[in-house]
């Protein structure tokens, strides 16, 4: 639509009751950019991710996606959300629907695609993330890693402009983390615009264009991964990195 940044947060403030979870957050994300958000728990990084498609409402500031201000509620918001893919920590696959139905639900109900066309595309996406053989099973019959890859396929089926990942590997057994990260890395390589909240520093180094470090509801530092991991500027980031990289 416009040439500006795809996602833009300016002066965003949010409170949970007394708790000031997002404090004057400014962030803009360009087309094709992969931004990894890291920080200690409770730093507001998940909340930040969830405000971008308004799963969390903000009290102050402005968020625009593709130049369009996030609508308050209703149809306009739903339309905008359909352009923003989201992958959750707990997968959130629809428990009563098969894998294939999980992926076709959005295209059929929101995009009004034909069943046949949406199924063809769903199978293509499921093959791409390596779970094509599971199409007729239910989510509970899949491993965590498989479920999360289905969740990625489900989001991709909407042809989103940007993908949000809210700690996508935090609920996974260690041996399943890589299968999910591999899918995400290939997405990043294909030019998808991504916001990734994660604790996977390897992924941040490998796939990110930019690392955003948050603490206490603020963006403390924002730099390319090389700079951030080798020469962090703030004391808080140095401290954080020393704690996680020593292990």
């Amino acid at each position: 639509m416009s040439g500006g940044p795809l996602v833009r947060l300016s002066g965003v403030n949010k409170w949970f009751g007394e708790l000031h979870v997002l404090q004057d957050v400014d962030l803009s994300i360009d087309r094709g950019e992969v931004v990894v958000v890291i920080g200690p728990s409770g730093s507001g990084k998940s909340t930040l991710c969830r405000t971008i498609n308004r799963l969390e409402a903000i009290q102050q500031g402005e968020i625009t996606i593709d130049g369009q201000r996030l609508p308050e509620e209703g149809r306009a918001l739903a339309r905008l959300r359909s352009d923003v893919g989201m992958v959750f920590q707990s997968f959130n696959l629809f428990a009563h629907k098969t894998i294939l139905e999980n992926v076709t639900l959005g295209p059929v109900k929101v995009r009004r695609q034909s069943r046949a066309e949406s199924q063809r595309r769903a199978r293509e996406l499921l093959d791409r993330v390596g779970v094509g053989a599971q199409a007729d099973k239910y989510p509970a019959q899949l491993s965590g890693g498989q479920q999360q890859r289905v969740a990625i396929a489900r989001a991709l089926a909407m042809d989103p402009k940007v993908m949000l990942f809210d700690e996508p590997t935090s609920a996974l057994d260690p041996e399943m983390i890589n299968e999910v990260l591999d899918v995400m890395t290939s997405l990043a390589r294909d030019g998808m615009t991504m916001v990734v909240v994660t604790h996977e520093m390897g992924f941040a180094r490998r796939a990110a264009n930019r690392v955003v470090f948050m603490d206490g509801g603020r963006i403390v530092e924002s730099a390319d991964p090389e700079t951030f991991f080798t020469r962090p500027r703030s004391e808080r980031a140095k401290d954080f990195l020393s704690k996680i990289l020593d292990h």
Binding site: N53, L55, E73, G74, R75, A78, R79, L80, R81, S82, D83, V84, G85, M86, F88, S90, N92, L93, F94, A95, H96, L105, G106, K109, V110, Y138, A140, Q141, A151, R154, A155, M158
Partner: protein, 216 residues
């Protein structure tokens, strides 16, 4: 036994009346209760308020009073149902819908919030999210409590007997007055009539429950 078979026509039609009261009211209550439950979880405060008001009024009013109002109160506002049977169905439906709504709402609350979030994140609206993702899962967990509501409804139909609807309980009264010696036999026949409705229901509920049980 002779007395029962002599009056089998009356008992049979009374049983059919009880069954149709229960089934018709059950269907209406399920539809109305689902709408009410949807309103109670909607993001629109006036809808929530209206549904809460409805549920609290009908849940806390004795069923007999609801019957009284529909049979004798509505004429004062120039309203009348086409027959005593439909009036009874209306009373039972309005009353039972409040219980259906509460049972469903507990089921809706039992669906993990991530399910609705995932649906909203895909761009589904509130109604679509409720219809395609939340309610189908909520219905599964509320089969046992809805079964209770249904059995209570089947027995509550007996209130209609007090309002000149010839159901099983009305038949019991009439036959007992006719021949007090046969009271026990009539009792047995009527109780059997109710059991024939409620016992298979309990069994059917278990079947449905196993059929729709969600794999988690």
């Amino acid at each position: 036994m002779q007395f029962i078979s002599d009056n089998s026509d009356l008992l049979w039609s009374a049983w059919l009346t009880t069954l149709s009261l229960a089934v018709a009211s059950g269907v209406c209550a399920l539809v109305l209760g689902t709408v009410l439950a949807g309103m109670r979880v909607s993001p629109v405060p006036p809808l929530r308020g209206l549904a809460t008001f409805y549920v609290e009024v009908f849940r806390n009013t004795p069923l007999t009073v609801v019957f009284f109002f529909l049979f004798f109160g509505l004429v004062y506002v120039d309203l009348q149902f086409p027959s005593r049977f439909t009036t009874a169905v209306a009373a039972l439906s309005l009353y039972t819908a409040s219980f259906v709504s509460e049972a469903l709402r507990s089921g809706i609350n039992a669906v993990p919030p991530g399910q609705a979030e995932a649906a909203r994140a895909l761009g589904l609206g509130f109604g679509q999210t409720l219809r395609t993702v939340v309610l189908p899962q909520a219905f599964r967990t509320v089969v046992p409590p809805l079964g209770n509501v249904w059995i209570a409804l089947a027995k509550n139909t007996s209130i209609a007997a007090g309002f000149a609807v010839t159901d099983l309980t009305a038949a019991l009264q009439r036959l007992a007055n006719l021949n007090a010696d046969q009271l026990l036999a009539v009792f047995a026949a009527v109780v059997l009539g109710y059991l024939v409705i409620t016992l298979p229901s309990a069994w059917l509920i278990r079947v449905v429950e196993n059929r729709v049980a969600i794999v988690r």
